[in-house]
């Protein structure tokens, strides 16, 4: 084993070990806990940068451990892995800072940060998985480590949300497991391979493969919140804001979407999947989800709930992008993985800030909040515009490529979906912005806390600003090297053009 | 010769029917005490059956253990049950030794008839002649150290079974002691007749045990039978009110109880250290070693059986504060 083989393992360990240690820390060891958290996040970031540089220069980072007699646990840093990995790593760092500020003085912090780290470990594992069983392993670990975060508050509502989350994910996990084993009995391998590993399979297996595809997508669709499997997501917003941020932008939802990308590209292969005729129904499902989520978001007064439905809608752009099955749409879908993450995390941070500082939970309470918390609301505004798809924020880039891709693939109906969705996005985001910036504030905020002369604590303010700036930057510097768009093009090339 | 065969057949059939009838009565007679007495009678009839089957060793064991000691255990338990039930008799609705005579139940009966028919058919389908392992046993009897084939099997060919069996006995005692707790020696008031009887019989019984032990090497008998007789002596002594003095009730008693298993373990270690297999006695000394094992086993079996009869662990004042 050379050093390159160790790096993926180290990436995993850099959050796993701090997490395990944190479990055993006493509640009041705040400084040590913070140090561990941040150190882990920074080390991970450094390792990831190292790998980014390496992969760009054609290095291979791969860890293999035997798991079952003929199956290995494979961690491999390919371009697609790295895209998701980088996103999670950066956002973990940011969210950690945010969570430290957010959970100041609340109980059970060791437990929280322990599971928090486990959750990131699982996400990173999902990103690095080199075959389907490794993916499955981390996917389930993700379920287990997020459940305590969802129910962290311990209230009755939280308990019910947790239950709903579990019912959905356990059920989904079972389907995924079934699909995976079945696939394995047919092929004898589960290794992620560009353009899939099913091409050699005979004609007689087609019906089975269609069912397997459905099983896998159903299993992943639970986490990716595809309609009608989305029920848990709006409920799960009772979790603390950093958790929601993580759930919606990085960990759970993204893992589902990422899994769908993996299944279509590296298990079935785009062409093979299209040949099976399964991508088109998926595209329709994604389109339905996009419209449905947007419509539901329109009628939510609870801010986090509105954002949750927005997530349902937005994540399906990724699914849509890969289901269109063309090179340009792929770029749009894959790059949206990153863009949506940055924008949505910004929005959730801001929602958390409003709740924590002023006790605002509902849209109707937000009148004039722009004057009280200008920085927060600026970040929020950037995120919201990104979601709508207005240039120059990153969201625009995704939608642009999706639209182009749909045209290129001859699926014009997608344009209407995109346009409709954008309109709806505008319809549920613009009123918020209008209320926040242009309406008179009420007499008193529901529950105000003061932080000296700042609008809120620096640990709460900094993260959304950073992510908002990044979202902006990715939109404006989309053609720079190492930009998400660049990577997405790199990935698309590999899937479609390389022999 | 004809007449003798006919006589044998008549006898065997009557014996078989008697066994079945007694078995049925044991299980259905409404009075529990009767049932136990019938069970003892059943045991004696079984002993007769063993004799008819050319199994004198088992006949001895059955008479001593199956009928004798089990009967004693059952009767003692029955007596204690009476006392216990009397203490709990609150509403006076206690079954006084009577079972609520459950009516005949058709489903289990039918099911078991089918089972019995199936098993009976199976048994009859077995080959009419089969030598089993008798050829191997007689071929190796010479080198086993004893000439009674049953003893050879028990102590040599399948000595390992016997080792484990000693442990079963010990384990039963451990279980009984663990469940029923300990009791201080009681002062019982034995009647003069029983007292005399036990005084007279105990030495005889010990002698008989020693004889059975010794004779087991070449004739029916052996450690289990001897141990059972020894146990009977213990039961008699216990019945007449004798109790182990509390000086001996601790470690000394325990040492005797484990003497059998310990002898086996020691033998196992010894045989393996001298380069043999587990429990492979040197051929020349096999007879002596077997006698040694049997002596220890007899002591343990007798003591254990008597201790099982007593039930509670004799308390030693110094232990378990």
């Amino acid at each position: 084993m050379n050093w390159d083989a160790w790096i993926p393992l180290l990436v995993i360990a850099s959050s796993l070990l701090p997490g395990l240690i944190i479990f055993f820390l006493a509640e009041d060891r705040k400084r040590l806990r913070t140090t561990l958290n941040l150190a882990g996040a920074l080390v991970k970031l450094a390792l990831v940068c190292w790998m980014l540089w390496g992969v760009y220069h054609e290095h291979h980072y791969e860890t293999r451990l035997t798991l079952l007699p003929d199956l290995e646990l494979v961690l491999r840093a390919g371009p697609l892995s790295l895209l998701f990995l980088t996103l999670s790593t950066i956002l973990w760092l940011v969210t950690t800072v945010y969570a430290i500020g957010y959970l100041e003085d609340s109980p059970h912090r060791s437990r929280f940060f322990g599971f928090f780290s486990l959750c990131v470990t699982a996400t990173v594992g999902v990103a690095l998985s080199g075959n389907l069983i490794t993916f499955l392993l981390f996917y389930e670990l993700l379920t287990l480590s997020t459940y305590p975060l969802v129910v962290h508050r311990g209230t009755e509502v939280a308990r019910r949300a947790g239950q709903s989350y579990l019912v959905h994910t356990i059920f989904g996990g079972a389907l995924l497991l079934l699909g995976t084993v079945w696939l394995y009995t047919l092929t004898g391998t589960l290794e992620f391979t560009p353009r899939g590993f099913l091409n050699d399979l005979g004609e007689e297996h087609r019906p089975a493969l269609v069912i397997i595809f459905a099983l896998l997508i159903a299993g992943l669709g639970v986490k990716a919140a595809l309609v009608p499997l989305h029920g848990w997501l709006p409920q799960a917003m009772v979790a603390p804001a950093p958790v929601s941020a993580l759930l919606h932008a990085v960990a759970v939802v993204k893992a589902g979407a990422f899994g769908i990308v993996r299944v279509i590209y590296d298990v079935f292969g785009v062409d093979f999947a299209a040949g099976l005729g399964v991508t088109e129904p998926l595209a329709w499902l994604a389109a339905t989800t996009i419209i449905y989520g947007s419509l539901r978001a329109l009628f939510q007064d609870d801010l986090k709930r509105r954002l949750a439905f927005s997530t349902i809608s937005q994540v399906s752009y990724i699914t849509l992008g890969v289901a269109i099955a063309g090179p340009i749409a792929t770029i749009g879908g894959v790059v949206h993985l990153v863009h949506q993450g940055l924008m949505k995390i910004t929005l959730f941070f801001c929602a958390g800030n409003l709740a924590e500082t002023l006790g605002i939970h509902k849209v109707s309470e937000m009148s004039g909040v722009g004057r009280r918390m200008p920085w927060t609301m600026t970040a929020f505004t950037i995120g919201a515009f990104g979601m709508i798809g207005a240039p120059p924020v990153a969201g625009f880039i995704s939608k642009w490529y999706l639209g182009l891709g749909a045209l290129e693939a001859g699926q014009e109906w997608v344009i209407f979906v995109l346009a409709g969705s954008s309109l709806l996005n505008a319809a549920y985001f613009l009123p918020i912005l209008h209320r926040a910036w242009f309406q008179e504030p009420q007499d008193a905020w529901p529950e105000e806390h003061h932080f000296g002369n700042k609008e809120t604590a620096w640990a709460l303010l900094l993260p959304p600003l950073v992510t908002a700036l990044m979202a902006l930057g990715m939109g404006m510097l989309a053609s720079a090297p190492f930009s998400p768009l660049g990577w997405a093009q790199f990935i698309s090339q590999r899937e479609f053009y390389r022999p | 010769m004809e007449a003798l065969t006919l006589l044998h057949w008549t006898f065997d059939i009557l014996l078989g029917l008697g066994l079945l009838w007694l078995g049925w009565r044991v299980l259905t007679s409404p009075d529990l005490f009767n049932a136990i007495v019938l069970f003892v009678a059943f045991g004696l009839l079984m002993a007769l059956a063993w004799v008819r089957l050319d199994a004198p060793d088992i006949a001895l064991a059955e008479a001593a253990i199956g009928a004798g000691l089990t009967g004693a255990l059952l009767l003692a338990a029955f007596a204690k049950l009476r006392t216990v039930e009397k203490n709990h008799d609150i509403a006076g609705q206690l079954e006084k030794g009577k079972l609520e005579n459950r009516s005949f139940q058709w489903w289990p009966a039918t099911f078991l008839l089918v089972v019995a028919a199936g098993l009976g058919h199976t048994v009859l389908s077995l080959p009419h002649y089969a030598t089993g392992l008798s050829a191997e046993v007689s071929a190796n009897l010479k080198s086993s150290g004893v000439s009674n084939p049953v003893t050879a099997v028990l102590l040599n060919f399948r000595g390992y079974d016997t080792l484990l069996e000693m442990v079963v006995l010990l384990l039963a005692l451990l279980g009984v002691w663990s469940i029923s707790g300990s009791a201080l020696p009681r002062e019982a008031a034995p009647g003069p007749i029983l007292d005399t009887l036990s005084r007279l019989l105990t030495p005889v019984l010990i002698l008989v045990a020693a004889y059975l032990l010794w004779v087991g090497a070449h004739a029916p008998g052996g450690a289990f039978q001897a141990g059972a007789v020894l146990g009977a002596a213990g039961v008699l002594l216990l019945l007449s009110g004798w109790r182990l003095s509390s000086h001996l009730a601790g470690l000394p008693l325990r040492i005797i109880l484990v003497a059998g298993p310990v002898a086996f373990v020691a033998m196992a270690v010894f045989t393996m250290l001298t380069g043999g297999q587990f429990l492979e006695y040197p051929r020349a000394e096999a007879g002596t070693l077997i006698l040694f094992l049997e002596t220890a086993a007899t002591l343990s079996i007798g003591t254990t059986l008597a201790a099982l009869f007593l039930g509670e662990r004799p308390k030693n004042k110094r232990e378990y504060p």
């Binding site: - | 009647g191 007749i193 029983l194 005399t196 009887l197 007279l200 019989l201 005889v204």
Partner: protein, 99 residues
């Protein structure tokens, strides 16, 4: 069959008669005490006769000794147990049967 065979047969049949009588008594007599009476007397003598009948056939004096020992032990046990049963019955308050 030689004379000794006849002798032992006669003795054993006589013994069997005693056993039969004793058993009949056990079944038919009205109370514990009279049943014990029938049982012990009959069995002791009956067993004695059977032992004698067998002793006639014995091959050595040692065997005769063993047979006698059996008889003695049964006598001892029978007597003691009969006594214990009778005493137990008395202690339980079982009354003597009177016509």
């Amino acid at each position: 069959m030689n004379p000794s065979d006849y002798l032992s047969a006669a003795l054993m049949i006589a013994g069997a008669v005693f056993f039969l009588a004793g058993t009949l008594g056990l079944l038919r007599f009205p109370d514990v005490y009279s049943r014990l009476h029938a049982l012990t007397k009959a069995d002791n003598v009956g067993l004695g006769l059977v032992v004698m009948g067998l002793a006639v056939q014995a091959e050595s004096w040692a065997v005769v000794g063993k047979l006698l020992l059996i008889w003695l032990l049964v006598l001892l046990a029978g007597a003691s147990v009969a006594h214990l049963i009778a005493r137990g019955a008395l202690e339980r308050g079982i009354k003597l049967w009177r016509r």
